[in-house]
């Protein structure tokens, strides 16, 4: 080691500035994380690709490869306290490791390219890279070795296991290699789903507002409450209670909880009276379909659904969801536009 390429020495490393990053997150980092979890600026939350230093690494320090989504970058560095290492951040266009591997932005080509651009070969003496395991689906490890001389070691799934992994001489346990999907993992994903669902719902509210001009029984707060409840069931409650709801299909789980919710709402709002029969039956079809649909969308956020499985689920459930939605909506509209409120 020449002593040149230590952190904060902008005069070297091909003129690119080397940045040392802390292993603690600032209030700004946490605020930023909260915002992207709510879907605000989520597609443009990036760090500059390149080589970063954690602690005071030298030519023998391990090199960890990751994505340039700032949420990923922060999650990684915050788990590296006390470790001296290099972070080779690839340009994944601000997308996390697993999804970027799926999209193709995190892959063999970008890795080889980034090794060259950062001059990594000059900075470290060893020839080993620790890649996140979830980047494996788009990585030809032998090709990386052939073109750059670096061998690829797949690290653990979660950043919190990296220190233990390195301490165990880069041996991962079965547990480190397995993707979990804990209640907390699921909970942090729900705000994005809810915000997106409410955005779509604004359109529906606009339509109801216009319909109210002709309605003999105008849509009111109770209707909105019943609907919002069904949205919450699909986007938040079903994801959260996923392992405990009977069945395997997401739409079934969402539809089941949606039906229970709607029955409770019909009871509470006294829509079970004979003169509201169409409204009650309509909502008992329409609202569980809404919950089922949003639950089905959560397959995209889950970490264990196969495309073959989702396709099968959709082929079976979509006719029911669309059928129940249409018939339910027609019944509710008949009640509200033509029958109205009994005297």
């Amino acid at each position: 080691m020449s002593g040149c390429c230590f952190p904060n020495n902008s005069a070297c490393c091909g003129g690119t500035e080397m940045q040392t990053v802390p292993t603690t997150l600032s209030a700004g980092d946490i605020w930023g994380a909260c915002k992207v979890r709510l879907g605000i600026g989520r597609m443009d939350y990036k760090v500059e690709p390149g080589l970063y230093a954690v602690g005071t690494p030298d030519g023998a320090s391990p090199v960890l490869v990751s994505a340039n989504y700032k949420l990923t970058f922060d999650a990684l560095r915050s788990k590296l306290s006390g470790l001296d290492c290099w972070l080779l951040i690839l340009d994944t266009d601000g997308v996390n490791v697993w999804c970027a591997a799926g999209k193709g932005t995190l892959g063999t080509e970008e890795l080889i390219n980034r090794i060259e651009l950062t001059g990594l070969t000059e900075i470290v003496k060893h020839r080993k890279l620790i890649l996140p395991q979830l980047g494996a689906s788009n990585m030809k490890a032998h090709e990386v070795t052939r073109q750059t001389g670096f061998s690829v070691i797949y690290g653990p799934v979660r950043a919190e296991d990296i220190k233990a992994f390195i301490a165990a001489e880069c041996k991962a346990t079965r547990k480190m290699r397995t993707v979990k999907f804990t209640a907390w993992d699921r909970l942090v994903l729900t705000p994005v789903e809810l915000v997106a669902a409410l955005k779509i719902s604004l359109f529906a509210f606009g339509v109801l507002f216009l319909l109210n001009l002709f309605a003999t029984r105008p849509f009111g707060l109770r209707d909105v409450a019943a609907y919002i409840g069904a949205v919450l069931i699909g986007t938040v409650v079903t994801p959260l209670l996923l392992p405990w709801i009977p069945g395997r299909a997401f739409s079934f789980k969402g539809g089941l909880l949606g039906l229970i919710w709607t029955a409770a709402a019909v009871w509470r709002f006294r829509w079970f009276a004979p003169e509201y029969a169409l409204l009650a039956i309509g909502y008992l079809l329409l609202l569980p379909a809404v919950s089922a649909c949003f639950a089905l969308i959560f397959t995209g956020a889950s970490t264990y659904t196969s495309p073959s499985g989702v396709l099968k689920e959709m082929k079976i459930s979509l006719p029911f969801i669309v059928g129940a939605f249409v018939v339910g909506a027609v019944l509710v509209l008949i009640q509200n536009l033509f029958i109205g409120r009994p005297l």
Binding site: R42, G102, Q133, K140, R177, G300, Y304, S306
Partner: protein
């Protein structure tokens, strides 16, 4: 509680006669689908497979085949409308 999705749908296959027992598939699989015994890999838990596609390209002897893709309902619907392979690149730039 372990989360399990639909049974008997995964397209994963392993050709045991090609397998050299390197263990790479077991290493990259996020759901413990593979097990190595007597220098051969076998599919120990097919129904846990989410078809992420990590195993196939990392198999040095091409013994593994899987129709890899995204298990996302929105992506599949988007694929139906656009005629493209389902992917995370949804219409409005918002993606997963």
């Amino acid at each position: 509680m372990k989360l399990r999705y639909l049974k008997n749908v995964a397209t994963l296959t392993l050709a045991p006669e090609k397998c050299v027992g390197c263990g790479q598939c077991e290493e990259v699989c996020p759901h413990g689908v593979f097990a190595i015994a007597e220098a051969k890999a076998r599919i120990a838990d097919l129904n846990a497979c989410m078809e992420c596609g990590a195993c196939a390209p990392n198999c040095p002897v091409h013994a593994i085949e899987v129709n890899a893709g995204v298990g996302c309902a929105a992506a599949i619907v988007f694929g139906w409308f656009t005629g493209k392979e389902p992917s995370c690149d949804c219409a409005n730039g918002e993606c997963c």
